[in-house]
Every structure is written in C-alpha cells, then in structure tokens.
Amino acid sequence: MRTFEYVRPDGVPGALAAHAGDAATAFLAGGTTQLDLMKDGVLEPARLVDISRLPMRGSTTTGAALRVGALTTMEELATDPTVERRLPLVREALLLGASVQLRNMATIGGNLLQRTRCRYFRDPAVPACNKRAPGSGCAAVTGPARMHAILGVSERCIALHASDVAVALVALDAVVEIEGPGGARRVPLTEFYLEAGGRPEVEHTLEHGELITGVEIPLPPEGTRSGYLKVRDRVSYEFALTSAAVALLIEDGVVRDARIGLGGVGSTPWRPRAAEAVLSGAPATPEVFREAADAAVAGAWTVPGTEFKVELARRTLVRQLRTVAEVTR
C-alpha cells in the first residue's frame, strides 16, 4: 500500500478544506471499500480525510420524507423505526447486503459511492480496464464474465454497481444532499449515477472534493406494499446475481403506483421506467407482470457469461411483483 497522510478535521467545512479538491486526497468514512481497494493497489490516495466522526449521523422523519445523515451505518438504518414501518424494501435490501460486521462499519453515503466488484477492475495486474485506466479496453468483455452488468453497458465496460440499498433508493426517488467548495446542492439519485456506456471512469456527478452529507427518502403513500428479492449463488453474505426492489399501491386489483429498482444487472442501480409504465393503471395479474418484466430488460447487452441474467432478471422481477401484490396464481 502506498504511504498516506491521515487527518481527521472537525466539522464539514474543515473536512472540505482538508480535501480542497486535491486529486490525491480521498475522504474516508466506513472504509470497507476504500481500504480494501488501497490494499489491492487500485486506489492510492496520498492523503485520507477521515470524516467518520462528523455530525452527519442518524435520521429524522419530516412530513413525507425520511432524511438520513450520510454517516448513518447500514445497520442503524435497517433498524430505524420509520424504515421498519414504511420502507420494507429499504430494510430488506440493507439486511440482505454484506454481513453485520460490515454493516456496522459501512455508511449510507459510502454505500452509494461503493466501487464495482468487477474482478478486472480490482486487479491492477490486468492491463485492460477502462474504468481503472481509461482507454485501455475491457478485459471483462473478452474474458470470463459472470458477476457483470447487462443494462447501461457497452463494449467499453460491463462493470456492475453492486449496491442493494441503492436499488431500493432509486425506485423511491431518493435525493442526494451534497456539500462542496461551491456550496450545497441536491441531486435526485436517478440523475446521480452515470451509465458506463460513455466514460466508464466517471461513475456519478459528484465532483472530486464534494461530500455527500445526507439522503432524503420520500415515503411512499400509506397502503403501499414493498419488498426486496435478492437472488444469489449462496443464501447469505453474497452479492446479487439479480435482485428486484418493488413498491406497489394497488386498489381494487389495479396498480395505481409502481416503483421498481433492479440490482445485479446495471452499471448503475437500475430504474426500469418502461416496466413501471406497463404496470401503471393495469390489472395486477401475472400476465401484466410478465409484460413489465419483458420491458424491464429490453435493450440488454450481454456477453456469453452474462446471457443467463436476462431471463433470471425477468423471473426475479415477476416473482417479486407477485409476492408484493400477493398474486399467487
């Protein structure tokens, strides 16, 4: 690991000043991705600004939204009373991710910014990785690939965004709160991430030196039913092959509001709006769910190792729509 300076400033302004947009400086929160990738030689910051004790922890419910401080841990958010009562899809996505130890360390802000698990990105001995070394190619497209994305990708990069909770949060139209040298701003999570088709090394709209301070999660209308289904190689402590976050408001057998996020398939936490459009105003039946699932994966781009994900993602979504809607036929 490259040597680095470690600083722990007081307050958000102090942290922003200590970072100051310096290319070789990185923020450190839970560290579960940051430190891991530093050990692998993928990230080599010369200075770490430890933000983990800044006053950005805990959540408050105000009106129709839950406001979550960026340093709230995954465990803390999973056991939040509002999350338990109003946001089952968020709770389930959190509890199906990582392990308790990692969830006690990992923060919500850090979770949103986690780097891909693509094995070629994480191995500096692999020369071709457009995300790690722009313009060098993509070893995953030609080499063995499996835990890779099929939506929002191209021959330049098929790296997956592996977060579970971000999938639920894009479905709910969560908003990211940001502070930086230029002041504060808010960005909808659906506009925060950038697909890997263009420049794979640019993953989101956060500027270097800006800090996520919180996430605002709009609460779905009372009566909404929701949940998260994660399909994986082993039953626990594993990344998703495919997953589906679903929130449905159904009245008299008709879908009044449908929100969907798909995991394990996208270069970003994936919001299949075409599938939501199929469901909206339609009867909650298996036939409609299947039609929505077809729309969700339309335009998938696969390599031989990821072809199976198209049908698996369809079935994952149909299953979760049926579970949430309680359609058992």
Binding site: G31, T32, L35, L48, S99, V100, L102, M105, S236
Partner: protein, 178 residues
C-alpha cells in the same frame, strides 16, 4: 516445556517517507497507545504491536470474519479499519471476554458443543456470537445462521456453532456479560 514470555514482537521497520501517527485507545479495558505507520490496520496493531494474537488474520480483505472484534460495543472487521480510526475508541478482543479467570459463557459453549475443528475462525466466531446475542438475533436457527453469515468456517463446523449459540441464548444470555 517452558512458556513463552508475553512480550510483543518488535514492530516492523517502517518505510522511508511513511507517515507516523499516535493512536490512544482502550483495549480490553486497558488504555493503550500505539505509534505506527498510518497504514497499520487495527488488526495488525492488535497482533503485531500489542501482542494480542487471538484476533486472527484470515483473508485480510473483509470476506471471512476471522478478525471480528468489538469497537464501542459493535462487531466490526479489524482488517478493514485503520488503527488511527480507533483513536479514543474502546476495543474488545477475544482476550477480553473472560472474567476473573473464567471463560465467557460463549467460550464454554463452543467447547461443550465442539463448535470448531481447526479453531482458526473461532475467535471471530465467538466475538460475532457474543454480539449476536446482544443484538437480540438468536431467536431461531435461521436467524443465527443469517446473522452469523459473515463468519466463514472452512472446516464447516456450522451446526455445532449454531448449537453453542442456542445453548447460551437458552440460558438467558444474562451472564453473557458483554
């Protein structure tokens, strides 16, 4: 056979240009100070600087759970935490579980139920299990398996690990004093 004196090994030579940092924290109830390269993880500080080798280094990348310790009462992975991040924190390791020379009830239960084979993952399993009880998640076998899933055992002693935890949970867990 003579016993080995309990002296920590000499710290490794630091790289030229490495940044040093002093960290003061509490380990198993005792205030400790470690001066080390900023790159030193909590795991390496415990093992190589403080001589507390009960905490094991398995994968060193947050995948196996062998290095599980408690920081401020929560179970975490010592391999993915810098020692410097623990300044002012309270750290508990497997060496800190016993009271008045008696093993922790969870340690007793692991022995009673043969909850290990090679034993390398055991300190992490026990630290995780003690936290699991405190979190109130030992209600069913299914819950125990799910909330212990961050601790891998390549000898696959899992059934006996679950039995040991159930045993302590059944006893009320009150005397599981951490």
């Amino acid at each position: 056979m003579t016993s080995t004196p309990d002296v920590p090994p000499a710290p490794p030579q630091s790289d030229p240009g490495a940044a040093e940092i002093t960290t003061a924290f509490t380990v198993n109830g005792t205030p400790r100070t470690v001066g080390a390269d900023t790159r030193v993880t909590l795991l390496d500080a415990l093992r190589d600087r403080l001589g507390l080798t009960g905490t094991k280094k398995g994968c060193d990348q947050g995948a196996c759970g062998a290095c599980t310790v408690h920081v401020d009462g929560r179970r975490v992975l010592a391999c993915l935490m810098l020692a410097a991040q623990c300044d002012g924190r309270e750290v508990t390791t497997i060496e800190g579980l016993s009271r008045e020379g008696r093993p922790h009830p969870m340690q007793d239960a692991f022995v009673r139920h043969d909850g290990f084979q090679c034993g390398y993952c055991t300190p992490g399993q026990i630290m995780s299990a003690v936290a699991l009880l405190r979190e109130g998640r030992a209600g069913t076998d299914e819950d125990i398996r799910e909330f212990m899933s961050g601790n891998l055992c390549r000898c696959a002693a899992y059934p006996n690990v679950v039995a040991a935890i159930k045993d302590v949970a059944r006893e009320g867990g009150d005397h599981a004093h951490l």
